[in-house]
Amino acid sequence: MSSSFRALAAKLAATLLLTVGASSCSAVGEKSADQTPSSDEVVLVTHDSFGLPKKLVRQFEAESGYTLVVHRSGDAGTLANKLVLTQGNPTGDVAFGVDNTFASRTLDADVFAPYAHSLPAGADDFALPGDDDQRLTPVDNGNVCVNVDDTWFADHDLAPPTSLDDLTDPAYEDLFVLPGAATSSTGMAFLLATVAAYGDAWPDYWADLMGNGAKLTAGWEDAYYVDFTQGGGKGERPIVLSYDSSPAFTVPKGSDTSNTSALLDTCFEQVEYAGVLEGAENVDGAEQLIDFLGSPEVQAALPESMYVFPVADGIDLPADWASYAVQPSDPYAVDPADIAAHRDDWLREWSDVTTR
């Protein structure tokens, strides 16, 4: 009995030591310092894709006198719904990343407070239609476009498609992969492009598209990396739904042409906005951040850090972008109020057509 008792005691001592050792690397109790909100912080609520170079963050903090705290989570849709649910008692002072497909929902719910922003030249073109008291400030834009693998089409002696109609052509059967509208904001943008292009007949287009072997994935990354021939994996489909900026990322080392190109007649424009949150604690900091997002420094950094184009005129693009990322001149658009009114019906109908 006594020997086994000693063995047990030794084991317990070992556990105790282990626990003490482990708790020294525990995270509890140590981070309490940055828990208390203070008035010299400005809190930005945003989505997963937000990113700014450290240098610019430091510059903002030096100029404004506030510490920038960033809370990122989810995609643009999750962000918008999070803001709607916390309306009046927000988790931050300012939000960035609500786009034109979700903007109406936040305006209807009074998520944002008016702010008489001064827009940089050119940004006016991107102001949200229907936002009459300047609650949302445009920050960046980009287009969701069908991309093609030019090397694949050259190897197969086939002319690449150029339009939405081409995608239902049997010549391109089983070649297209795209993220679904229900699970991906990129996919949603393409659904809206077809709504803009075909009006009420869009479900017929989708029926043809699916009939021609289009493949749906859950997210953009899945379509691009796994199924697309230029995605780095072993993909077998040379047509993918992606962005107008994507060709800038498929330039092989030492080459001066991109392996892919965006089909400029298939694009839907996305604009991302920032706004001061209703009920913000630090309104001054929030407004300063919005001005900062429109500054030439941030606008110039947008392509490299967030893969989007600036809204301001006269900003120099990175070399790869200037050569390979071509923006469409006349992308498809749907009125934000229409999107807000019909999003649910469209998505439900889309789900029915695509899973038939």
Binding site: A14, K82, N89, A182, T183, L216, Y225, F249, L347
Partner: protein, 546 residues
């Protein structure tokens, strides 16, 4: 004296119940209330309307079907492996045991990509045509959950008294007969426990269904996600959440019935693992097959992570100390790994301490019917976190924990707490069967020999519960390392965990980000295997030998 038992019961229950109440019941009811009172007035009609939609029927049917299939296959493959890895003694046993637990912690996003690389049109198994099929979904579910069966059943099998089986064999029973009439009935509580947990995991699986199903299939969980994050149709989301909760509760009731055995007591003679014999070939072959099935997707991850532009190399791994191409990350993966480990330590002690309290609470023999009912209800109560969508919980936190003194929306503590809640059912289900197996007469004997309640706990309960406790802590640690759903919602930007970082890398185009994501997954898997292996080493063979 008459009140001391109920008071002890209440005393033990108060902390875990409060924690669960604050961090689970409150947020979830907050979201349900938004759905049931959409415009300030009670409108349950919307909920009923939702339940009548044909789409909802399809979704519910698919969820039941896929979860049942996933559970069945997990149990069928897991049982032989549990035997081989816990009752047989062969070289490399510890390594295999640790390896089989790895899938459990891999973020679903990564497993989704790995499976699709394997089964996709251009992948090595592409000729099977399984991409986007229900078979792929079930395979994914099994991949994740088979380790739960191995662990939970294995732990019970290890502390199973071999003598009844030996006696039956001595009386002429063939091995199959012994298995059917002696071993399986004795293991029933553990098997039912494991199967019910696996079923809940399968039924609430999110990433697997989404990535592997090619959007053709939706489960209740993916539907709630869609309704909440995209459509903001809270009444419909509430309807499905309520449906989910009702289903979970009924499952728990049924499982509770099945779990109950006339005399759960386990005699304390522990079998020593023995060398494999000829009769064990089938069992070993099944285990090997399982190992191959688990290894295949992981192998695609490893090869993918070693691929760099124009050949093979370790560049993706070297890049883990950087912020990725085009500053995809705020902090390097190496730093995220430190955060992950620290958070996991916290989540582990939280779930272990709560889990132990709960387990002691629900396994003490009840004197009255009411007492037994209360204990049973508590047992089920702590399983509920398995049955609720991470999205519901995440949004619930935002709208309920938003007023001082509990404005915890941005507290760094929320992450380990949420992970501990996810791990809690695993901990409870691992410990309870063993604790329930202790003959209460042993405690009474200890008491009559003059031992106080603590001394009795020390000498009677602890030696038996030691191994399952280690298994449970390993589980909790692993579950915390791999948790993505709730974590991604709550995590602070400056302190992301590895799964969150992997997700971010996958979402950012750029030459190396994809390779880095795969490399980070491999590192996460390796870390988990190492931790599991260390836990294995801690097991002291002399435990229970008196």
């Amino acid at each position: 004296m008459r009140w001391s038992r109920p008071l002890t019961l209440a005393g033990l229950a108060v902390v875990p119940v409060l924690v669960l109440g604050l961090f689970f019941v409150l947020p979830v009811s907050g979201m349900l209330a938004r759905g049931l009172w959409p415009h300030g007035s009670f409108e349950p009609g919307g909920v009923l309307e939702v339940l009548g939609r044909p789409r909802v029927h399809r979704v519910v049917w698919f969820t039941l079907w896929s979860a049942s299939a996933g559970t069945l296959v997990s149990v069928l493959l897991g049982l032989p492996a549990a035997y081989a890895l816990h009752r047989l003694d062969f070289r490399g046993r510890g390594a295999v045991r640790a390896a089989l637990l790895v899938p459990f912690v891999l973020p679903t996003v990564v497993v989704g990509v790995a499976f699709r690389e394997l089964l996709g049109e251009g992948g090595p198994l592409g000729f099977l045509g399984l991409d986007g099929s229900p078979v792929a979904i079930v395979a994914g579910l099994v991949f994740f959950n088979v380790s739960v069966v191995i662990r939970a059943v294995g732990a019970a099998w290890e502390s199973l008294d071999p003598r009844p089986g030996e006696a039956a064999a001595a009386l002429g029973a063939r091995p199959v007969q012994v298995l059917r009439t002696v071993t399986l009935p004795a293991l029933r509580p553990a098997i039912v426990s494991a199967a019910s947990v696996v079923f809940l995991f399968c039924a609430t699986a999110f990433g697997v269904v989404l990535t592997l199903g090619g959007l053709k299939y939706s489960s209740v969980e993916t539907e709630i996600y869609l309704l909440t994050t995209n459509l903001l149709d809270l009444p419909a989301a509430a309807a499905l959440s309520i449906l989910q909760l009702v289903a979970v509760v009924s499952l728990l009731v049924v499982a509770g019935r099945l779990r109950a055995v006339p005399d759960p007591s386990v005699a304390r003679a522990v079998a020593r693992p023995r060398r494999p014999a000829r009769g064990d070939r089938l069992v070993l072959a099944t285990t090997a097959l399982l190992l191959v099935l688990v290894a295949a997707p992981i192998a695609t991850l490893v090869t993918g992570s070693l691929q760099v532009e124009g050949g093979w190399g370790l560049a993706n791994y070297r890049a883990l100390a950087t912020n990725g191409t085009h500053q995809a990350l705020l902090v390097p993966v190496t730093e995220a790994l430190v955060t992950s480990l620290r958070t996991a330590v916290d989540a582990t002690w939280m779930s272990l301490s709560m889990g132990l309290l709960v387990a002691v609470l629900v396994t003490r023999r009840s004197r009255t019917r009411t007492e037994r009912r209360v204990r049973g209800a508590l047992d089920g109560f702590f399983m509920l976190p398995l049955g609720v969508s991470a999205v519901t919980l995440g949004f619930g936190f935002l709208i309920t924990l938003n007023h001082p003194p509990i404005d915890l929306r941005d507290s760094p503590l929320l992450v380990p707490i949420a992970q501990a809640l996810v791990a809690l059912p695993l901990v409870v289900r691992t410990i309870v069967p063993v604790l329930a197996g202790i003959d209460d007469r042993q405690r009474q004997a200890a008491a009559s020999l003059g031992a106080g309640p603590l001394r009795a706990l020390w000498t009677v309960d602890l030696p038996v519960v030691w191994k399952p406790l280690l298994a449970a802590s390993g589980f909790a640690f692993a579950a915390s390392l791999g948790e993505f759903g709730a974590t991604s919602f709550l995590v602070r930007d400056e302190h992301p965990t590895v799964p969150v970082v992997i997700f971010r890398l996958l979402g950012h185009p750029g030459a190396m980000n994809y390779g880095m994501a795969l490399a980070a997954s491999v590192v996460l898997a390796a870390t988990t295997a190492a931790v599991m292996f260390a836990v294995e080493r801690l097991r002291v063979p002399s435990v229970g030998a008196f």
